[in-house]
Every structure is written in C-alpha cells, then in structure tokens.
Symmetry: C4
C-alpha cells in the first residue's frame, strides 16, 4: 500500500519538475522508500507533471509490482538498486534536462569550486567533484549490474546516463528534490561555462 502522503509528495515534486521542463512527455520517474520491503514508484506511460495518486504504485525491492496489472517505470531497477545499496536514501528522482542530456553526450563531467557543492555534504567549495556518466543501455537489469560495483566503490553525489538524464537522491522526497535542483544548477553552470571558454 502506498501511503497517501507519500504519493501526494511525489505528485507535488512531479509538478515542480514539470515547471522546470524536466519531465517532457512521459519521461522521468520518481520514487520513495515505503519500508524494508516496498518502494513507491511512478507508473510507466504517465506524464510526471500531472500525476494523480493512482499513478504511484507499490513495487518490491526486485521491482515487481504489488498489483500485477500495474506497470512500473521502465527504470524501476535503477531505483531499487539505490535503496538496496544505500540505507539513508529515502527518495530517488530521475528527470531529463537539456543540460544533463547534452553534457553527458560530451564525456566526463566535473564540477570545480562551486559553492553549491556544499549541498552534497562537502565542507568546502574548493573541490573537483565528478558526476559519473554511465553509458545508456536499454537492458536496465544489465545496466544496473554493471554500475553496481562503481556505486559501491565510490558513492557519487548522483549520476547521469548518457543522452538520457540525471538520477538524484536524498533522505526524503523534499531533500531529493533539493539535491536534484542543485545538480541541475551545476549542470547548467557547466554548460554555460563551456560555451564561454
């Protein structure tokens, strides 16, 4: 069962992501941890800026829907993986921004000396922080398997799938959105910075 306040939170975040044009068409997916057995995630084939609570469904940590006729997001296993690997994660948000999509197709992304890096728990801005870019793969299970050792060895501040989009997470739905906003801000800065040099 998806608690209604959790479903409402996710629907509200979807509207905020939509107001930034981060969920074009039926792209993007949003989830939150319910408990040690269940995750709430957006259904496949709905516009994430116009979610009703019926569009937030329950899945297991293996990505199986609690109600078999409900089709969860195609990328559900990437969400499940994060909840399994990192107990502190309470919510995961995936959007498609122009900055993330374009930069990820250019190669590696590093953020240097930005104050807003402190949003990710660093004590200082005087850093070079890598945002991992993983190659896209339509076989999500295979993609998840391949990135798992990378996530475990070097837990990142988020990641981007090339030509696809950002994955951000936090301890709660609201906190995950703050981290997504901060990442998208950094990506926009990088895009502008590269244009100027």
């Amino acid at each position: 069962m998806v608690p209604s306040d959790l479903a409402n939170s996710l629907a509200e975040i979807g509207r905020r992501m939509d107001s930034r044009a981060w969920v074009p068409g039926s792209a993007g997916n949003l989830s939150a941890r319910i408990d040690a057995e269940s995750i709430a995630i957006t259904r496949s084939g709905v516009h994430k800026g116009r979610l009703s609570t019926a569009d937030i469904i329950e899945v297991s940590y293996e990505g199986e829907p609690a109600i078999a006729s409900q089709k969860p997001s195609a990328e559900t296993l990437l969400h499940c993986q994060l909840y399994r690997l990192f107990p502190q994660i309470g919510a995961v948000l995936h959007g498609h921004s122009v900055a993330a999509t374009v930069l990820s197709m250019q190669g590696a992304i590093t953020f240097s000396n930005y104050e807003i890096l402190k949003a990710f728990g660093f004590a200082t801005h005087e850093l070079d922080v890598v945002l991992p870019v993983y190659e896209n793969d339509q076989d999500i299970a295979r993609l998840a398997k391949w990135i798992e050792p990378l996530l475990v060895r070097d837990p990142p501040i988020g990641y981007v799938i090339a030509g696809h989009g950002v994955y951000a997470w936090g301890t709660s739905v609201e906190h995950a959105f703050w981290r997504l906003e901060a990442l998208e801000f950094l990506l926009s800065c990088e895009l502008e910075r590269r244009r100027l040099k």
Copy 2:
C-alpha cells in the same frame, strides 16, 4: 459540433504551450479529430494561450468551416492532411519555438542516440532519426500537395517548416502534447549541442 470536452482539452494544451512560450502572438494552431467527417481546430487570429471554447471550431476534412463566418487557422489544410493520411492520429499541434525556428533555417535536423527518441515508438536510443524540414510556402494547399508523397513514403516523427515551426501529432490531445514536448526537448538539445562543438 465540437464536443465541449475536446474543446476544453485543446484550450488547456494551448495554455501549456503558452507557458513554454510556444505560441507567441496569434501564432500556432491546435486540432483534434472529431469523427470521420469533422475536425476541431483553433480559429484564426486568436492567442492560443488564451482560448475559450468558442475559439475551437469545426471544419471538414477539406478544411471548410461548418459555420461559414468562422475563419479557421491559415494552416488548416496541413492538419486535415495528417488526419486523412494517418488514421491513428487523434490530434495535431503546431507551435513556434526558438529552437525549431533557428535550427530549421540551418538545414537538416537529425537526432542521434537520445533516450527520449523512445517516446516515438522506437525500441532503442541507438539511432539516427531525421526530423524533416520542409521549405515554407504561403500557399498552404501547394505546400500540403508537395509534402504528401514524402509523408506517405517515410512517415516521420513530426516535421518542421523552415523558419516557421514544429508539427507534432499523437493518438489523443494529451499524447500529441507529450510528443510535442519530446520534439521540443530534442530540438533544444540539438541547439545546445551545436553551440558546444
């Protein structure tokens, strides 16, 4: 007769297009199939972000208004053509974005390896998909005649009229808007990508 729910859907999509600045002034036009004889389309000379249901009028598949005094969009024949050629199309949306206008004046547009291409029914992102650019023509009947064999031979994911704007379509008004959002997202990515190289 234009069913009121259809008129309201189109008016709502107009507001969403306006919030993205895709219908400047009285530019753009929106339509939906009513049945085998009639199409609902926006009147000429109204702001598509501020439509009332009275601004959505009925036309035949030949573009003739059911009420003679009502003036349909100047580009009505382009909408009618799509309904005639492709039975699965339920709605057609035409807007003017900066990305579409500028890119179309530069020549051919191809999208390569973008995840969001899957919004158009492709099974993978590993593709080069052409978005046709047709030369503008004030004689809409002539333009429609010229592009017809091209549409039939190679049904595209949408098209752009050079220096003018995007045509997108879908099985319903909402679905057409998702396809328009996805196309505009791809066009924005292309614009940014070309600036970086």
Copy 3:
C-alpha cells in the same frame, strides 16, 4: 479619468510581461489611448508586474499628468509621440529583454524569412525586415524629436533603444502584447542564430 477596464488590461499585460522577465525592477512602461485628449500610462517607480489600477494614470498628449502630483513614466513622451503620429495605435508596450538589450548593442537588426513576420501585416515570410535601433539618450524629449522624422518616413514594426529595450504597439492592449511577443520571439531567434554561425 482612466477607465477601469483599460487599467485592468494594462495591469494584466504587466503580469504577463513579468512572467517572461521583461520588466525587471521598475523598468518598462505600458500605455493605452483613452481618447483624443488623454492617454493612460504606468506611473514612474512601480514594478510593472505588480500594478494596481492606482498605478495607471492619465496624461495629456504632451505628457502632462492630469493630477499634478502623479509622476508618469520617464519615457512618457515616446508613448505620446506614437499616439500622435499613428491614429491606429491603441496601446504601446515597452519592456527590457536580454535579447533586445544585447542585440541592440551590437548594431543593426534585420529579420529575414521568419514566418512570424506575418504577424506585422506582411503577406509573406520572404522578406528582410529591419527593426530600427536608436541610440539611447537620457533627454527623452530630444530623443523623441530626433526619431520623429525616421518614424514618419519609414513606419517600423517596432523599435529598440540601444542597451535599453523594445517598443511595440498595436490597435489594442491585447494586440500590442501579441506584437511584443512576436518581436521578442524574433529577437530570441536572432540571438541564437548569431551564436551558431
């Protein structure tokens, strides 16, 4: 006396301009013709995105406020001039966009082959249309005097004051906004186009 519906129209257009970030701070000014003796114009020193009807005051065609204590916009004479020269003008809108400001500091602006040029009454898109750029001058009376013969000889589709912003007009408040939207769209396209070449 400013008719309340006219004041409300102008306040609403101010909100629409603000939602596009075209009236930063207290910049910009909006007016409409009341009759052969009076013009309604925004007061000086108010945010044009947050106008109350008390912020729309009456002035004469010489720019003199009907109520002496009310301070009209610093650029009132530019509005008055347009109403005097062109009887068909019903409203004049002046905003500050990044595109207008930056392009006008680069020199001449010409729009070629854009479909949306038809919003200005041209029958075709196959044109080169000049948007005049006038040099800025803190002495508004002097500026108005200097541009008058230029406006009369070659009535433009609007104009830009260098490093300052766009002046657009139309037969009504709504129509003036459509023309402003179309001009700002063209300016955004030009900015993007120049970056690509």
Copy 4:
C-alpha cells in the same frame, strides 16, 4: 520578535526568487532590518522558495539568534555587516543564478552603457559600473572582515562571491528585489554578450 508582515514579505520574495530558479535546494538567504538591534533572516537548511513565517528568525547585529536553538543562515554575518555599514539598507537578498556563478568564475564584471544601471541611482546609462567579485571563503567571519574596507571605500551596487552568487540590497524588501532583478538582468546580458563576441 519578527513582525509578521516582514516575515510574510520575505517569504513572498523567496517564492519570486524560486520562480526564477535563483534559490536551488537550500541555497540563498534573505533578510530585513527590524530595528537598531535586530535583523530578521531565513533559517539555515530550508528551501527559500517554500518559506513559512517560522523559517524567518531574529538575530542580533552580531549574528546571534534571539532563540538559541534556531540556526540562522550560514552567511548571516554578511547580511549583518551591510546593515551596520549602510543605515539606508532595509533588506538584503542573496541568490544563486547561473549567470552570476559562471561570470564570477571568469574574473571581473563591468556593465557598460546599460539603461537599467539607472535602477541603481545613476543619472545616466553612459557609464562603466563595476560589480565587485570577491573570492569565496568558507570562513564567513574572515570573508566579512576582508571585504569591509572595500565596501566602505567604494560602496558598490551589489557584489558577487565567486562561484557562489549575488548579494543585492535596497531600502525595503520590495526595493531590494527590484535591485536583485536588475542585477540578474545585467548579468544575463553580460553572459549573452560575451558569447557573441
């Protein structure tokens, strides 16, 4: 005690800054002078676009919270400094825009000949006005100490902390927002201008 109208003003400005994407995550801070002893400032760790009046707390001119358990913004001392040095300042706003962040990492920022410079009290646009860029420092007390003589000797129109963001101020909360809007407009113009040359 924070007067409720002041708290509501600040919360409203936070929403306006958020609609422009100037307060990503928990970044940014907003304050207003209460009287000769107290300042109202946003708490640390809240989203400035979603402030409740409980998120606006009282601090002394030394940055000490009136209620010890309340944690004011990390940058409180920069706000206090401005109120202490400049009696006319009634409110201070700090946001993070892409333009400010990227330009400040490139070096000095000068605005030349922009009309909107008049928003800062200059009588003309024919000027070169420097917007100081100060190097970032996690030790805010040290940063404040270092910039104090610079602020006193040459009171600026605002300032930017490199890779961090803009500080703007005015005689009231609303006036400070107008100045922030004008500064961000100038920064956006500069970013575009540099891309074109």
